[in-house]
């Protein structure tokens, strides 16, 4: 059969976001996948020239609504490093707790969407019901369900009271139990294994060569996690990167599922060690020079480059997001698979288009 080019997206029922792929198909097998971008491009890096360094926090939070808190964390820590601001230890712990809550909400969201991509709608609903508990925690402690604006330069805006901490621990216990309930379905269900095992395989060498990051890299057996760089309070917490060996869609699901338990554990550790004290320091003056900062997002490593000139506006802000790094790996995974598996494999990297295009 001659080659056919099938357009995938930008408006597609499986993806909530506009991503376009031109798939060259021969006998139902994808021969080549060419991504097309630009549907969500806003040019927000340029906004740093008209919004001052404090107002830019709200802009970087909206790079991506799913991992907003972690973008702001990366931005704030980067600028604080440039200015030599020492953040109070309590603020560091609070940042860690909120960023881990964000990771959990993002992974649960993804597990739901992934289940939906192979048509397992009840599992999708189940994960999203668990996720609502984390959104309740966000709403109670930070004032918003999704875009959690707690970071400021020099610390955080809100504190966690003792009652809040107790409540969070009780909720986490419940979330853990609910996650245990779905474990059997997730790992033993015939349909899930059939649709995900062996689909979109990426070996460790390919993953490193193509520059994959985050769960995609860890699912190929490479133990690399940016939290090991010890930003925020991660230097005082104990954790090991979650890895899997197979490098297929199932392994990526496995990594994300076990990272949920890792995050629960990290929040518990942080809550048990959290010191008393102030939650922010006053920041005076403006940064100067260049800096680079990296943190681990739910989807992988996010990279910020700052160039400042001592005025209240930055000269240049460059954001490289995890999905951008994972797209070459995705194009590799898509070649040689069946057309019906394309949605599953695309979702397996947890694409965040609004991050990628900024």
């Amino acid at each position: 059969m001659p080659k056919t080019i099938i357009p995938f997206g930008p408006q597609h029922p499986v993806l909530p976001e506009p991503l376009h792929f031109s798939l060259t198909v021969e006998d139902e097998i994808v021969q080549e996948a060419i991504p097309g971008f630009g549907y969500v491009h806003r040019g927000l890096e340029k906004l740093c020239e008209i919004k001052d360094i404090h107002k830019m926090i709200q802009v970087v939070e909206r790079v991506c609504g799913i991992c907003s808190k972690i973008h702001a964390l990366c931005y704030c820590e980067g600028i604080e490093q440039m200015m030599g601001v020492e953040v109070p230890p309590r603020a560091k712990y609070l940042r860690t707790i909120w960023s881990e809550l964000h990771r959990m909400h993002s992974h649960l969201l993804w597990l739901g969407l992934f289940a939906d991509s192979f048509g397992f709608e009840s599992l999708f609903y189940h994960f999203w019901r668990i996720r609502e508990k984390i959104l309740d925690i966000n709403e109670k402690t930070a004032g918003n369900r999704i875009i959690v604006s707690v970071n400021i330069l020099g610390g955080v805006k809100r504190d966690l009271s003792t009652e809040d901490q107790k409540w969070i621990l009780a909720e986490l216990k419940e979330i853990e139990n609910k996650l245990e309930e779905v474990k059997d379905t997730l790992f033993k269900d015939y349909t899930i294994s059939k649709r995900t095992k062996g689909k979109g395989i990426l070996s460790a060498e390919e993953a490193l060569y193509l520059g994959a990051v985050g769960p995609v890299l860890r699912a190929s057996g490479v133990a690399q996690d940016c939290r090991q760089l010890q930003y925020a309070a991660f230097s005082e917490l104990d954790f090991e990167p979650v890895i899997a060996q197979e490098g297929d869609s199932f392994a990526r699901m496995q990594v994300r599922y076990f990272e949920l338990f890792q995050s629960i554990d990290l929040i518990r550790q942080a809550l048990s060690k959290i010191p008393e004290g102030p939650i922010s320091v006053k920041v005076k003056g403006y940064p100067e020079g260049e800096n680079v900062f990296r943190v681990e997002q739910p989807r992988g490593e996010v990279f910020y480059y700052f160039k400042a000139n001592g005025s209240k506006f930055l000269d240049r802000l460059r954001i490289r997001t995890p999905t951008f790094a994972n797209v070459p790996a995705l194009a590799k995974m898509l070649t040689g698979i069946e057309l019906a598996d394309v949605p599953v494999v695309i979702l397996s990297i947890d694409p965040c288009i609004s991050c990628t295009e900024r």
Binding site: Q11, P16, E17, H41, I50, R62, G65, W128, S354
Partner: protein
């Protein structure tokens, strides 16, 4: 004709189908829109179903700012939805461009390209607000059928 109108009215009232398009949003409004369809808020009890095909849809829910590349797709989807239809703009970005209004690649709100019937502000709006907007749009759809805009 009267019979068809009555049939349409019952169908739309009992089960309005919704098409969601992310038009350059930060994902915040999109995941809240999806949250509306999941068990905690459960829009399906009002018969609202999220569909992927514009030709099946009655309500067009748009989130996010319009930029130079996606304006064509937005217009295209709008034209493919059969009358009567209601357009919902969800989130501050879809209303005016929001925090991105000054960004170089942003044209502005959704109403610069297509006519909008209902605006839902918020960054992101609460699921309750989105749900109310959807229910309001059902009333609007009824009006449109009754007034003969088919």
């Amino acid at each position: 004709m009267k019979f068809i109108k009555r049939l349409l009215l019952t169908g739309i009232k009992k089960s309005p189908w919704l098409l969601h398009f992310d038009c350059g949003s930060c994902n915040g409004c999109d995941i809240e829109t999806l949250a509306v369809l999941t068990p905690v808020y459960d829009a399906e009890r009002f018969g609202v179903i999220n569909v992927g095909n514009p030709k099946h849809a009655d309500i067009f829910l748009v989130t996010g700012t319009v930029n130079r590349k996606n304006q064509e797709i937005l217009n295209n989807l709008y034209l493919q939805i059969p009358e009567p239809k209601v357009i919902l703009a969800v989130g501050t970005c879809a209303l005016s461009g929001g925090i991105f209004a000054e960004a170089p690649n942003v044209i502005g709100g959704v109403d610069k390209i297509i006519p909008v019937d209902i605006y839902i502000p918020g960054c992101p709006p609460k699921p309750e607000a989105i749900l109310e907007g959807v229910l309001k749009s059902v009333e609007l759809l009824e009006d449109k059928v009754k007034n003969g805009k088919i």
